[in-house]
Symmetry: C2
Subunit: 711 residues, 2 copies
């Protein structure tokens, strides 16, 4: 059954090859006028400058953690390949973001140029760029996983399969830690950058000076466009690379544990099949995503609504194809008696679709919640805030219920009532199922910033108003489909985190078994006070990190505000449009500030599980993870949906409702949007990474914790 | 050792007797001019009208739940005294709030009148009124507990002590459910009323019409004053009655379980001592509170800062005396070998003091967090909101760490490492210790609304500005000391909830043991998916209920806004001050709206544990409770502190900072304050009750859940 393995590298190469084709297609398009080219160049240079600086900061952290891991490996507290797996995870996660960023910045002017022809032409360019991102993320993840699988198989080839697979799986979890580690920096740093630039540009430009959005006189306008790329593209790429890779490695680890419950005769073959199954399902989803890409077709004169359905056809088509493929894969790989595992995959896919719809319901101005927020703007900013917070908090309820039902369903479908570990494997495989179509769902999310940048480009290059209108339509379309994409990402984070929680428990039991009678057996019952305290700390950490990120944005935004004000008042001829503002200076200011501010929140997430482990022991860490996962999930949905709903409520008012642009209601709506920005684009997504990174850190430093624990 | 029991009723009678003396002292004071009397009368009538209506709505629910419980008792799913215990808990909780309300509304004009003489005179009246509230709550709780203890002892007198005590303790938990049930209605209904009236009065009066706060032309101004009484006095009284009673009964239940681990010879006497100990400690704290009251003395010409220290002397003095008393009580009752239990009490007391200080640090304008919020007002409402949310979320971190340390400390001091149940008993006793000085800590919290009303009275009666200045000083003093009181309340809620969680586990094990082999043994390990899903649902419920309450306030406030606008535009001569507005109409509108809006959030809290139990079983309920307690605690602190900090940041600006009253920064500060009101006075405190009510409901309906459970 080892041949099943080849699905993974083959799929990876198909994805990367197709991505190259798409890039060549994009580059063939024209960038437009000289002005358009020069604006795109400024954004590209700003983004590259940011990402270079980010790498240099992150590199220091990677070197430190690598040194720590290497020391632990030498002390035999972690296996020797761990530090190297960690490094590659971080490298590929960063590479995904970087490549996505390159393509996105190359596509914005081309999208604006194509949008001069028609809405559909604009969509083709922007969506291709998003698809490249999706394919690069999926392709690199599968490639890296495949390579490590081969390396580890040869490192441990002396051991029999039943012993070898658990070691391989647990080492590969460290690969996940590298990915999560980089993703947190990219998401947090990028999120702080983009929102600080956005808030800074809006507060001084739109509110104080009264000039329009994306006005070239605003020094923060390029930083704002750069921000879209570094936060929403590079950050998101690293983020979803991490989600994708983590869900697969966590499920591999559960597979290795689940097969342990079988009879010895079956164990070797079954465990191999179960470990490889997530890779095969991922490959199936990848092919389905590429087919889905071709389903996104519309006539040249198609309107927004038609395009929306084209995009949906792509996403839902890919999900359906994956479901069909998964059925046959489970049937032939595990055999008909394990067909329940297919229903676990299906549970994951269906839950992802429902979560996507819920996100759309709570954040689109087609539905009551967002309309209600817009209406509350009539009574001022305070009621907009209260209503927006309420909508977000309420929206957590149905999403949590869907995830809860998915966990139960996936657990029992996979046979959890007879074999507990099989049930948990089912939960992991549901997460893999949910993320298997990431190639296309990420595309629907990642093309939004390209459209946004294209709009900025069109505005600054003074193209005809119809172009800006079209890019705005693309952007708003992107907001709707991004909702679907976010549903998959957020739901899979919860499922993966649960799988990681169990993986941690398994690793801990193994570590304690090895330590022998010197350490008491695990008491992971809920009434163990150390575990309960862990849950308290986990819940608390979610609040703390969210606040630190929001505050970091506030601090950075204040710096931008001062800079923009200074340029407005001190640069002669700027307001008259005679002199260009110092775009690069503002970009560099944003960069430095974001890099500085991201350190504390990122470190808190990493240090806490280790410190908690030393003080509260393994049980405390388990509680910490459970608390962080559950509260983090509810908080992430709350923040994402409050932010999205505020954004769209403001746009709804701008479309002429409740007084339209310039009215008091609009001003109140802008306040909501400004509060929502750090919610939806920084703190919320960071929580997704946080809960997985904490699990990863806990697993990697388990040996240390067991060796040092105080009680 | 049965004679120990007499401490409780004796303490109760001392408290109630002293309360009567204080009331007579207050009533001897003059109410002031005719205008002052008539304003006080309007507020009193409004408050009484509200409370009557509240009783009639709540009565329906009590009848329904009573009928359900009686049916369960007849079906032998709960013991027979349960429905009656439930009713008395609700009755006494309601009575505490009612008596507190009566005294508070009788004291406002008298405080304003006394404040004409000096700040200290005003404080004496207001603080006496708060002290009556504190004593009534403590006295009635101890009285009711004493009576039930006698009744249950005679009902079950045929059983030996070791069997009798667990039954008595578990029946008395139902008494707690009645108290929690009423408290949730009072807090939620009162909170909705007061905040809707407040928001309505401010939005139309201050912001739109530009008339001052407490201007008699504003139709919502009486409703606003009524609201302070029904929400902050009657609601808080019921709330803390519930906290106090719950902490004692939960600890009694743990005592009954803990003694089970001892040798048979010791068990009977030890368990009796341990069950009675919380009652004795409560009585000690009560006497210490009365002594503390006499420590609150200051010279007639004392300034604000001197008075603050006088209040602190009272609180800290009472805490110190309780600690000394508890040492001797534990030494003589349990014996020197159990002196560790004293350190558990001390842990609770110290944690309460630290939590109080933390609340003050994060919400007082003497410290950086609130000053930072005020500064962020310079860049508009959006930054005020973000900064306020950040401060609140960050403030959850140190508080959670203090509670975590207190739980660990109380657990190990009481001997948890050798006897697990003793450790849990230590956690319960820490909660009792923390709340033992409630008599005086509640006084420092409850006198604030009296001072606030006195200010309104002074304003409307057109007393000299110095009087309003003095009542404002009292009010602001109240905000600071209330922070200390809130620290005790919120911390004890977490500790009590943990005790209840364990009590639930014990009851569930007992129920399953009785059901015999038809039901599988409990698996309360964290990796049980049903338990994990429970934690998810618990965390989610906290977000949902918070949102429902905030939204209820929004809905009610909209109604008030419309009514006030209508009166402003349609009542001729109103704005010129020639015609009085229809105060009573606005009060009745607030009342009806609040009563209607409180039903959904209150019901969600009660129905969820039962439904979750039927679907997910006992393990799911345990998870639900753990999730709700941990997330609820963090959320409650976040909301209370964000709200408090916004309030004080606004006041800080009003004191002349960052442009002072009328500046743009002030307007931004008002937005923060308006958002913060539902946070700190409705949703936040409701969460404290919610987590305990859910535990209570779970325990009471345990028999039903075990009988009906699906899986």
């Amino acid at each position: 059954m080892q041949w099943l393995y080849w699905f993974a590298p083959a799929g990876a190469l198909v994805a990367l090859g197709f991505a190259v084709l798409l890039v060549l297609g994009i580059l063939k398009k024209k960038e437009g006028t000289d002005v358009m080219v020069s604006i795109a160049k400024a954004v590209r240079e700003g983004a590259t400058a940011y990402i270079k600086r980010q790498y240099s900061v992150v590199a220091i952290f990677f070197v430190v953690v690598f040194a720590v891991l290497l020391t632990l490996a030498i002390l035999k507290l972690v296996p020797l390949p761990v530090p190297f797996a960690f490094i590659t995870g971080g490298f590929f996660s960063g590479l995904s973001g970087f490549l996505g960023l390159k393509v996105a910045t190359a596509s914005s002017a081309r999208t604006a140029n194509a949008a001069q022809k028609s809405l559909n032409s604009g969509l083709r360019v922007a969506f291709s760029s998003g698809m490249v991102m999706g394919l690069v993320v999926v392709g690199l993840a599968l490639l890296d996983l495949s390579i490590w699988y081969v390396i580890l198989n040869s490192v441990y080839k002396a051991k029999p399969v039943v012993e070898r697979l658990p070691i391989i799986a647990s080492t590969m979890l460290n690969f996940g830690m590298g990915a999560s580690f980089y993703a947190l920096f990219a998401r947090v740093g990028g999120g702080i950058f983009t929102k600080a630039a956005d808030v800074g540009a809006d507060l001084v430009g739109k509110v104080e000076a009264g000039i329009p959005e994306d006005d070239p006189r605003n020094p923060a306008v390029i930083a704002d466009n750069v921000g879209d790329n570094v936060g929403d593209v590079a950050g998101m790429g690293a983020d979803l690379y991490e989600s994708y890779a983590d869900s697969i490695v966590a499920t591999m680890a559960l597979a290795a544990a689940a097969a342990g419950g079988l009879t010895a005769a079956l164990a070797a073959e079954m465990s191999l099949k179960m470990v490889l199954l997530p890779l095969v399902i991922a490959a199936v989803g990848l092919i389905a995503s590429i087919i889905g890409f071709f389903l996104v077709r519309a006539g040249e004169r198609a309107e927004q609504r038609v395009l929306l359905w084209a995009l949906r056809r792509g996403i839902w088509g890919a999900a359906l194809l994956t479901a069909i493929g998964a059925f046959f894969v489970v049937w032939f790989v595990l055999g008909p008696s394990y067909i329940g595992v297919f229903f676990s995959v299906l549970t994951g896919l269906v839950a992802g679709v429902i979560l996507g719809f819920l996100t759309e319901y709570f954040t689109s101005d087609n539905y009551r919640p967002t309309k209600g927020i817009a209406r509350s703007a009539e009574t001022g900013p305070a009621t907009v805030i209260i209503e927006g917070l309420s909508v977000g908090m309420i929206s957590a309820a149905p999403s949590v219920i869907v995830v809860a039902a998915a966990v139960l369903g996936a657990f029992y479908f996979a046979g959890g009532s007879n074999n507990f570990n099989m049930g948990l494997y089912g939960v992991g495989i549901a997460a893999v199922g949910m993320l298997s179509t990431l190639g296309i769902t990420l595309a629907t999310d990642a093309y939004g910033p390209v459209a946004d940048n294209a709009g900025g480009n069109a505005e600054m290059a003074k193209l005809k108003p119809i172009v800006r209108k079209r890019t705005d339509a693309l952007d708003s379309l992107g907001n709707t489909t991004a909702a679907t994409g976010k549903g998959f990402a957020i739901g899979s984070a919860a499922l993966t985190a649960l799988a990681l929680l169990v993986a941690y428990r398994n690793e801990a039991q193994e570590a304690i078994r090895k330590a022998g009678s010197t350490i008491a057996a695990l008491d992971i019952s809920l009434t163990n006070p150390r575990l309960l305290i862990g849950i308290f700390l986990g819940a608390m950490l979610v609040f703390l990190i969210s606040a630190l990120i929001m505050r970091a944005i506030g601090t950075s935004a204040q710096a931008i505000v001062k800079d923009v004000r200074h340029q407005f008042t001190h640069t002669k001829g700027l307001m008259q449009g005679k002199v260009k503002p110092d775009y690069a200076g503002t970009v560099m200011l944003c960069t430095k500030s974001a890099q500085k501010q991201m350190i504390v929140p990122a470190l808190s997430a990493m240090v806490t599980p280790v410190v908690a482990g030393i003080i509260l022991g393994v049980e405390g860490v388990l509680g910490l993870l459970a608390g962080a996962i559950t509260t983090g999930f509810a908080m992430a949905i709350f923040m994402a949906n409050s932010g999205g709903a505020w954004d769209n409520a403001k746009k709804f008012i701008e479309s002429g409702q409740f007084g339209g642009k310039g009215s008091d209601a609009h001003k109140a709506g802008v306040v909501g949007d400004t509060v929502g920005d750090p919610f939806k684009d920084a703190a919320g997504p960071a929580l997704n990474i946080l809960i997985k990174l904490m699990s990863m850190v806990s697993i990697v430093f388990l040996g240390l914790v067991v060796a040092l624990k105080l009680f």
